[in-house]
Amino acid sequence: MGRLLARGALIAAMLACSGCALGPRPWEKDLMARREMQIDPYPLLTAAEEHVYFSKEASSGGRGFAGGGCGCN
């Protein structure tokens, strides 16, 4: 009985531990390693789009710095 309880406690502790930290375990990060799962997989494309929006709209920044480094606004 005691052994059963100890086993139960161990399983409960393992479950609790796996649930206490948000996010996948290291061996579950296969999908995160792919390019399309990066925060900014195409930085030049993002920069070009932000440049267009910066020069045509009043808002800028959010993703990064609000400055444009140019006189286009």
Partner: protein, 475 residues
């Protein structure tokens, strides 16, 4: 039999997932063995995890942006290139180069009229060798008498005529820009990553120097990253023809001073969280403060007759010297099996009275083999700045600040696009993205006067954007 083949396929997929996961988990601790793994031959070229933490490699990104506005307005061509060198211990050096050539017609800020309108701008000082930026597009050269209080040598001006019932645009707009950036980052002791960067951008009439530094820390088995970035920018504007006195009549005289500057300081506090195996989230708070010359030195605002609405004069605009802005940005990347969804939301507000909301959605779909397609949509809406006016009424007291720049007005913008990409092998990718951007706003405000009721006062743009890119990872 069929079932067995399917089952075998599933097992194989699961095994490859587990092995890729194990590999990622062990890379940090066993850089040398990872290097050995990466050095192995990959004759089929199917492996796409050839580069990553613990391995020294470099990345080259090259791209070309072609931007074209409708109605013969602005055209821009912008080649860019980035080089990133990653050392096995996490140190990273990045170098970036950007050039752009912009030309075309741009609204000068005045309202359309039922009568043709003439506008004058400086051309060049007598006896000087200053080049003329684009005195083309139906302009004529005019001779000016010396004016008391102005530079005595100023004697030539450029005049252009806008036909009746047409949005006034200056067709002489032309500029070139070159910019370079450099950045360095590395782990330092217990700090996951710390870095600095600098940038320099130069146009014919504008110069910007930028500097930034960041520090980031990983927690929770690298599932949580907190990053603080500080940014600074110092700009100086040297417009062709000098700095006009705000809210005075447009003239062809050269003005003084010839240069004004602006400084900007800001920070971004970001949280990146891997929520599940299939969900990555980022949350940013940004604060910025700009101080200095923020006017568009070429832009005017019409003074109109209080009864007929006919423009009687064009005054140079004026904007407040200070501007503070804040934004919240929330981005989500979700791997939903056959497709990867990216959903980004932003809320922005500033001390000029502008608030904006942005929503972006894209869906990356594998097309089999090495091809993919990624349709995308963006919706953006902003309110007007407190000092935005389509025009000012002659005879009334002038406000302290006034601009008719539609970028400071209320409008909604949508972008629809699609990216199509092809992975040449695990190390190279080419892609092309086409987008259509369209601004819509109220061109017929309820309080329009006289002839202005018949005019479309909204001068927003519609543009087509094509972006081509190539990325290459190599040892």
């Amino acid at each position: 039999m069929q079932l067995n083949v399917l089952e075998a396929g599933r097992v194989r997929k699961r095994l490859s997932r587990i092995s890729a996961g194990l590999l990622a988990a062990t890379l940090g601790a066993h850089a040398a063995s990872a290097q050995e793994y990466y050095d192995q031959e990959d004759p089929l070229g199917t492996r796409n995890d050839t580069f990553g933490p613990g391995v020294a490699y470099s990345q080259v990104d090259a791209a070309l942006l072609v931007y074209q506005e409708g109605s013969g307005r602005v055209t821009a061509i912008e080649p860019t290139m980035n080089l990133a060198v990653h050392a096995a211990d996490g140190r990273q050096l990045t170098l970036g180069l950007v050039a752009d050539a912009v030309s075309g017609a741009t609204p000068n800020g005045a309202v359309p009229s039922s009568q043709p309108q003439n506008f004058v701008t400086p051309l060049k000082a007598q006896g000087s060798t200053a080049s003329v930026t684009g005195a083309s597009g139906g302009s004529t050269i005019i001779h000016l008498p010396p004016t008391p209080g102005q530079i005595a040598a100023a004697a030539l001006g450029r005049q252009y005529t806008v036909p009746a019932n047409t949005l006034p645009m200056d067709k002489g707009f032309r500029d070139h820009r070159g910019a370079a950036t450099i950045g360095w980052s590395q782990p330092l002791g217990n700090i996951s990553d710390i870095g600095i960067g600098m940038g320099y951008s130069r146009e014919e009439d504008y110069q910007a120097i930028t500097a930034n530094t960041h520090i980031s820390q990983n927690f929770n088995a690298n599932n949580t990253t907190v990053t603080l970035t500080l940014n600074g920018e110092f700009d100086s504007s040297s417009p062709f023809g000098g700095i006009p006195t705000p809210l005075t009549a447009m003239s062809a005289q050269w003005k003084t001073p010839t240069q004004r500057s602006k400084t900007q300081l800001g920070f971004v506090l970001g949280l990146t969280q891997v929520m599940t195996r299939r969900w990555l989230m980022q949350f940013n708070y940004s604060f910025d403060r700009q101080s200095g010359y923020q006017n568009d030195p070429y832009r005017v605002i019409s003074l109109v007759d209080p009864a007929t609405g006919d423009p009687t004069d064009s005054y140079y605009e004026n904007r407040p010297i200070n501007r503070q802005s804040q934004s919240l940005y929330w981005d989500n990347r979700l791997d939903l099996g056959p497709a990867v969804t990216d959903l980004g939301l932003r809320y922005y507000t500033d001390s000029w009275g502008i608030t904006s909301k942005t929503a972006e959605l894209s869906e990356r779909i594998g097309l089999g083999g090495s091809f993919y397609i990624e349709p995308s949509a963006r919706w953006y809406q902003q309110t007007a700045a407190d000092f935005f006016h389509y025009y000012l009424v002659a005879g009334q007291t002038l406000p302290q600040y006034a601009s008719s720049d539609i970028r400071l007005g209320a409008f909604t913008a949508t972008t629809f696009g699609a990216q199509f990409g092809f992975r040449l092998d695990g190390r190279q990718e080419i892609y092309i993205k086409g987008e259509y951007y369209s601004q819509t706003g109220n061109g017929h405000p309820a309080d329009a006067i006289g002839q202005l009721r018949q005019q479309n006062l909204f001068s927003g743009v519609k543009s087509a954007i094509v972006f081509m890119g190539y990325t290459w990872d190599f040892h």
